[in-house]
């Protein structure tokens, strides 16, 4: 993956130290962390709103900040689109004048055509409206459009969905997916919502206490995110067949068929599934006369128990890893050990998206 953004900063905000090193390429890089982990501060440093004490920030060979060389480009010279949590539309301007602000005030005329952005985000009927009359979801879409029309080389999104309720989120997420898949713009997406990360992220940078504790492809990092209940894994597969009679789609995961409620993806397309550890059970032998359709032969590659009653297993399925959460007692009774070949019974999985790359 080509590296677009490279950040290496060392700073202190109040009494809070930030020391972050990471890179981001094409597609969506999720900057994931609990609130207070320094995500927004990091975005502000990239945007040029806050000045880091030390470090270097580079986008596509252009140095935005370098403390050693004394370079610190002002925000308006950085070509970074910034979508804020609270939209920040200009209240005295119409939606249309908000969208075109970068053109008439920022003198940025090149880039995506206006009509294409308006169509992409479904803003046609909103153009003459005033921001005050928009719903939260509409406001956020206008904010995204406004940032896109500034012809940015990178888009920063600071929890753009956090101020919205569930149904509004569902309204915006498809737009974000289209954006990611159609514009090819690198996006640094700050979130502490595991669902958004699962759906959108190609890469994940995990931020804890102002430090990057892990980074890499979403599939590799995902299992380390999230709270107890949500823990899970991302697995990619290929749509293999579609069973019209029973309304099922079969997906090939590392050579094993996996059946789900019928999807409208065409056969041969790559999809990403999210499997929660709590939806996976283990059997020593192939169970018979059972309603669960997805029984996959797997190998135990790791086991971690904590003080609670649970044990987390890491399972290898054709080169990919999923997790299973079992009680310690079950693990003891079945005498499960790393290296064992067992069967994983998967009760549910959700398709997060199709993978185009």
């Amino acid at each position: 993956m080509s590296e677009t953004l490279s950040v290496s900063v060392n700073s202190q905000v109040g009494s809070f130290p930030i020391a972050a090193d990471f890179t981001a390429g094409k597609g969506v890089t999720a900057l994931f962390g609990e609130s207070g982990a320094g995500k927004t501060t990091l975005l502000k440093m990239i945007a040029g709103v806050t000045r880091p004490k030390q470090g270097r920030i580079v986008i596509r060979n252009q140095v935005l900040f370098d403390s050693a060389e004394g370079i610190n480009l002002p925000p308006e010279k950085r070509r970074i689109g910034y979508v804020f949590q609270d939209a920040r539309l200009f209240p005295h301007l119409s939606v249309k004048n908000n969208l075109t602000y970068a053109r008439w005030a920022g003198r940025r005329s090149e880039g995506l055509p206006y009509d294409a952005v308006v169509a992409l985000l479904g803003l046609q009927h909103l153009q003459q409206r005033s921001p005050a009359t928009l719903s939260g979801g509409e406001r956020q879409r206008v904010a995204i459009g406004r940032a896109l029309l500034s012809n940015p080389s990178l888009l920063l999104m600071d929890e753009p969905l956090s101020s919205l309720d569930h149904s509004r989120r569902q309204e915006i997420l498809p737009f974000l997916e289209t954006l990611r898949d159609q514009t090819g713009l690198p996006i640094l997406y700050v979130s502490h919502e595991i669902d958004e990360v699962a759906r959108l992220a190609d890469e994940i940078v995990l931020l804890q206490g102002g430090r990057v504790t892990a980074s890499g492809p979403a599939e590799a990092i995902f299992s380390r995110l999230g709270s107890h209940d949500d823990a899970g894994a991302l697995v990619t597969g290929i749509v293999a067949a579609s069973d019209e009679a029973f309304g099922l789609t079969s997906i090939d995961i590392g050579g094993h068929p996996f059946q789900l409620a019928r999807l409208d993806f065409i056969v041969g397309s790559k999809v990403r599934l999210r499997i929660r550890a709590r939806d996976v059970s283990i059997a020593r032998t192939l169970p018979e006369a059972i309603s669960i359709r997805n029984i996959l032969p797997v190998r135990i590659t790791g086991m971690t128990s904590n003080e609670g009653p649970d044990t987390d297993l890491a399972l290898d399925i054709g080169g990919q890893t999923i997790g299973a959460r079992l009680t310690r007692k079950s693990v003891a009774e079945l005498d499960l050990k790393p290296g064992d070949n067992v069967f994983a019974l998967v009760k549910a999985a959700s398709i997060d998206r199709s993978v185009l790359r």
Binding site: A47, G48, V49, P74, P75, E76, R78, R79, I80, G81, Y82, F84, D86, R88, F90, P91, H92, L93, S94, Y101, A102, A105, G106, R107, R108, S130, P131, A132, R146, A147, S150
Partner: protein, 227 residues
Amino acid sequence: MLGETEWAIVLLSLRVALVAILVALPFAFAVAWILARYSFYGKSLLQALITMPLVIPPVVTGYLLLVWFGARGTLGGFFNDVFGLTFSFRWTGAALAAGVMAFPLLVRPIRLSIEGLDRGLEEAARSLGAGRIIVFFTVTLPLLLPGIIAGTVLSFAKALGEFGATITFVSNIPGETQTLSLAIYSLLQSPSGDAAALRLILVSVVISIVAVVASEWLQRRLSGARP
């Protein structure tokens, strides 16, 4: 209706108040900006200094103006030598007195609207490629306009009615420094002036109401995009 002298009084008053506020406005904006956006040593002193004309007796303000800006005053001499501008016993002095007295009322609403402005909007504008100055004129200033208008109208009304500092500084000279308030005062002193005084009182009430209504209308129009 109004006679020729009365019209002259009204026009003089309007000229004094308008000039006072228009000249004071850029200074008031600068002071409001500094007080709202910066913290520095001596900020509370500056703040107190700005508020002074509101709290000390107008006669004292007028006296201080006379001492500093009079013909023999340090600043008066300076303005006379450098700009050829004389304040003592001239309408310009009346404007100066009115401007000084109205200054705190001009600063306060502007300062409040600067403090109330979401600076995130300026950040957003800069991320869209606009430099500081363009951001100021396309985002900051338009959003501050309602506050600026409120301050302007309030201080205009104050300048129009200024009495104590004016009469102390530039006296009560018909045709030069005799503004509405001073004229009403003079008429009320003379036994036959009641009717004329009443007419001028009505005029000053009308001017004030028109100014307030106009500012309300303007503010509504400017913020028409908002709820």
